[in-house]
Structures are given as C-alpha cells and as structure tokens.
Assembly symmetry: C2
Homo-oligomer: 335 residues x 2
C-alpha cells in the first residue's frame, strides 16, 4: 500500500509548541502541543518534543510518510536555520534546524511566523491564485511576509519583510526595537491601545475607556466599546486605519501586490479597522495603483493557521527544491 | 562562419532615441541616435528608427545576429508592453512593443529606465555578484529598480519599485504625481534645489546661491558652491542625505538587500551626498541590518548606461525565457 505523504508543521511561541501532521490538502491528521518550561533551552525542548511526537507517530507509521518538517518561530532566519535575539524565547542565537536534525532525518526548514503564514495562505488559504501579495499579522506587533512572483522574499540577510519596523513617524512612539516611530507601535493590538490612550488625553469627552485602569485596556475592550458607539473607541480605529492605510500605500509603491491579507488580533475587528484602512490607502495611493489592490482577511482557520503555515513552508520548500535541482542541471545547458 | 549574437538596446527619452547593438560581454558594436520630433507618435518614430537602423545594420549582417530588442522608456509597463501616461513623451497609452514588432521579427521587451539600469548593473556593472539589490537613479526624479533573488521585481501591475513615490512627509512638498511629500520631491536633482531654496529662507547667512535667480539654481551650481565651502550649499547636501538615509533604512526593512546602487544626477556629487546618506541610513536601520548594506555608485559608463541597460534587459529575458520554458515542462513532472 502506498503511504500518504505528510509534513510536520511546528509552531514555537514563547509559552508552548504546537505541532501537527498535515497532508497535501492541508488536512491536519495529528495535532498536539507541549508546554515550554521557563527559559528552556532548544536542546531539551526538542528532545521532549521528539519523544512525545514519536510516541504518537508510531501509530501513524503504517499509513503516513513524513516528508519534511517546517518550523515557524519568532526571529527565525531561513538562511541560517537559526532563531536570533528572540525576546519571547530568551534565545540569543540558537541553531534550531541543526538541533532538530539530530532527531529527524528529513528536510527541515525554519522561518518566522509571518512568512509561514504567508506560505500557508498561498498553499491553503486566500492567496491560492496570487503570485504577488503581502501577508500582515496584526498581533502584539506587526509581522509581515512578502510573496513576490510566487516565492517568499527573504533578501540577503533572510530578514526581508520587516514592515512593522519601517519608521512612519520620525521621533514617534518608542518601539521595542530601540528606535522610534515604527509602524507596529501604531498598527498592532498594543498600538491600538496606545492610540486610545493618546486620544483619551486629547479629547475630554466621556468614554467607557475611562472606566478601566490603563493596564487593563485591551484591543478587545476598545473593540467592544466601539461597537457600543463609544466615540473615542471609534476614533481609535479611525486613526489606526488612517495610519495603516498611509503605510500600505507606500508598501504598494514598493511591491505592486495584487492583495494584502490581514490576520489575527486587529484584523478580527473586521470593518472597524478594514474600512478606514482601505479609505486611507486609496486616498494615498499613486494613481496607477488606485482600485487595484485587494485588502482581504486571512482564509486560514484561526486556531490552526500557525501549524498549517509551518507545514505549507516545507511543502513549498520540497517543491522548490526539486525544481531548483533540475534547474541547476538545466542552467548548465543554457548559455 | 558563426554569427556573433547581439541585442539591440533602445533608450527612449523625451527628446531623442539612442540605440546600440551590444554583444554578450556588454560591448557596443554599433551606436546611433535619432532626434524625436515634437509630439511625434510612436508609429512614425519607429518607422524612422527602423529605417535608419536597417541602413546601418545591413553592413553588420554578415557578422552579427540580432537576438532581440530591449527598450527602456519612461512609464513603460513590462507586462503590457506599453508606455502609459508619460508626461515626457505626451503618450497616453501606446503599445510600443506591438508597434516595434511590425518592424522586427525578434523577441522585444520594454521596461522603465530604472529597471533597465538595474538589469544593466546586474549583467555588466557593479551588481554582477548580487542577487538582492536596489538600483536608484537620482535624476530629475527618483527612479528605482528592485532585483530580488536575481530577478527584477515587477509586481502585479508591472509597476513595482516606485520608491520615488513613497510618501515620506505627510502634507510635504507638492509632487508632479498630484500628491504631497513623495521621496523624489526631496531626493533628486530638483529636490536638492528645493531644499536649497528652503534653507535660503531658513537661514540668513551669506551664500553664493543668493547671487543667482532661483530659476537658474541647479544641482550642479549647489555642488560647486558646496565644494567652495558655502555653508548653505553644504547643509543642502546634509539635509538631502539625512532624508535619503531615513528612506533607505525603511527600504532595507522591506527588502534586506545586499547593496543599493546609485546612479546619475545627485549620485555624481559623490561623497557630498553619499556620506550623509550612509550616516543617516545606519542611524535609522533596524539593528539586524546595521553595517550590512553597501551603498555603491553605478559601475556602468555614464554615457552608455541606458543603451547597456536596455540591451541587458533582453539578454536577461532571453535567458529567463529559455529557463522558464524548460521549467514549465519540468513542473508537469513534479508534484
């Protein structure tokens, strides 16, 4: 009997590892997680991960064949296979792919969450028909993955697509990266909260948001207040969308994408954030781009997007690898 | 006897057409030009061009074989083969490739000047060893061509790389595109002049620049004044470099290029513009990129860069075409 080919998608976050076996159709046939221990090293983490996975996988061996492993992790570098300076993980420079290869004898690649999401969207989600699009994850920060001509853009250092750290306001808000005015200090769930606080100081109208301690102010609370008609909460989304749209207009001038796909966090606010973003982007676009760039919400299931993205990454890699090997042979025959 | 393969590089500007036959080494074996007539249509232009070229080419036919034609023109769209809304040419939407194909039975492609320069740099110039770099032309405007993973980035509409029209100052200087604050209103030869005028109003020091009518103020004059120690002229370059460096820091966050290559106009000012640009870029770069991106001056000969770029474009295209045809056959055999 032919074995069904699957890949293992692993999503590393600051607190847990989720993983799943995924077939070519994007169906998850096994899904598990382990909790990270405080300041756990990658070595012990992968040892535990491999042990737990193997114990489950032995029941699958007669049906499935593991083709490769894709890993999505914060601050991951595709070229070097490392995770570098991740504040979430307390890993300074960890050769994750090298460590994982001690346990599995299959192709393994790693990339950051946003890139994995972009490839997930390309393979299973709303970008199946796009060759040029940008995936933006609007969580605590703003992550982005750029697909140009059907491939992830990595650039020379492997760190292309740091749209969240383009400076959009000279001497603007302080950013976790040590600089000021980065896009993600305005457009992210934390950016939304900072804008709400700014507007609470600027205006003197009543607002539901004045009734909670600032430390308890969340994007979700602002969302609920906006839905209840709170004017400062609504203005918070308007301002955030305006800034986001201005930034996207510049992004479009760089890449001429067919679509920009938004996921997680702020994106869940739907029209409240999408409408002012589109209006502002269109207003600021160079005329040749006006009306030509779609803003879409992710087509991947919320809970499993990360695992699917990581699994899609290695499917994509396996495909490109085959193509490239033949291409190299080919290049020799072409002047 | 084997014929030597050559391509024809054609550079269309608002006033003239330059063209040259170029071999694979980047050597120009025939170089000519014709003057454009006021408001001349593309049809009559190409009729004249073909006539003049054929008359010269007949002496070359026994030695050279014309493999293809590359055209560089303002506002050219690679995908559609057209020139659209070019204010320099008074052409609203002209199917240049289609018109050229009436006269030549070889592959013909068109792109804008900046993209052609980028490919020229890749094939014959300072980017031979780079897979990820950005070419910036600092003439009357700011044109840019982006090479990612060895290929020109066109994007969905064919207009990727409009870095000159990213907005860097909300409600800033009025731009020819109808918007405000575009990078090219600050960083270009005209941008330099506008900055000089701004500084002449801001400061009240003596300056050589106060001795000429504003209409006669040029980048060249500011350059000479700066070299003579004129403080406002020097400050003009400092301010321009600061703004340029800030913009490049953002560009690097998008693309993670290995190098940024500058050509023409402002780039000819050398250290006067390069030094403040590098200082400002490094200051504003995300730490992972610091010290990793080269700023270089073009390696193409000034006078012939356009023809070489256009010829390189079709060499590149012919190569990629062969690769892609084999690749398509290949893809069918790969799941």
């Amino acid at each position: 009997m032919n074995l069904i080919e699957v890949t293992l998608g692993i999503k590393i976050s600051g607190t847990s590892i989720e993983y799943g076996l995924v077939n070519r159709m994007g169906e998850i046939v096994l899904e598990e997680a382990i909790k990270m221990r405080g300041n756990e090293s990658a070595e012990t983490l992968f040892e535990r991960l491999h042990k737990q996975f193997s114990s489950s996988y032995k029941n699958f061996k007669d049906t499935y064949k593991l083709m490769g492993i894709g890993i999505a992790a914060p601050c991951a570098n595709y070229h070097s296979g490392t995770v570098e300076n991740s504040s979430n993980l307390n890993w300074v420079k960890v050769p994750v792919v090298e460590i994982a290869k001690k346990y599995w004898d299959v192709p393994i690649v790693i990339t950051n969450d946003a890139n994995a999401s972009a490839i997930g969207e390309l393979k299973y989600g709303n970008a199946k028909n796009f060759k040029n699009f940008i995936q933006i994850t609007l969580g605590l920060g703003l992550g982005s993955g750029i697909v140009a001509e059907g491939n992830l853009l990595y650039g020379n250092e492997g760190f292309a697509g740091e749209i969240g750290h383009t400076i959009i306001e000279r001497n603007g808000r302080h950013c976790g990266c040590g600089r000021k005015g980065c896009l993600e200090t305005y457009v992210s769930t934390t950016g939304l909260v900072r804008t709400a606080i700014e507007l609470l100081s600027k205006y003197n109208e009543d607002s539901l948001l004045r009734e909670v301690p600032l430390n308890d102010l969340t994007d979700n609370l602002i969302f609920k207040a906006a839905e209840m008609g709170d004017s400062i909460a609504n203005e918070t989304f308007e301002v955030t969308g305006r800034i986001f749209g201005e930034a996207l207009a510049n992004t479009v001038a760089y890449f001429s994408p067919e679509a920009i796909i938004l996921t997680e966090g702020l994106a869940l606010a739907g029209d409240l954030i999408i409408n002012p973003t589109i209006a502002s982007m269109e207003k600021n676009l160079l005329s040749i781009f006006k009306g030509k760039v779609k803003i879409l919400i992710s087509g991947l299931p919320q809970g499993n997007a990360a695992i699917l993205g990581a699994s899609a990454l290695i499917w994509h890699e396996l495909h490109m690898h085959k193509v490239n090997i033949k291409l190299q042979t080919l290049e020799k025959t072409i002047v």
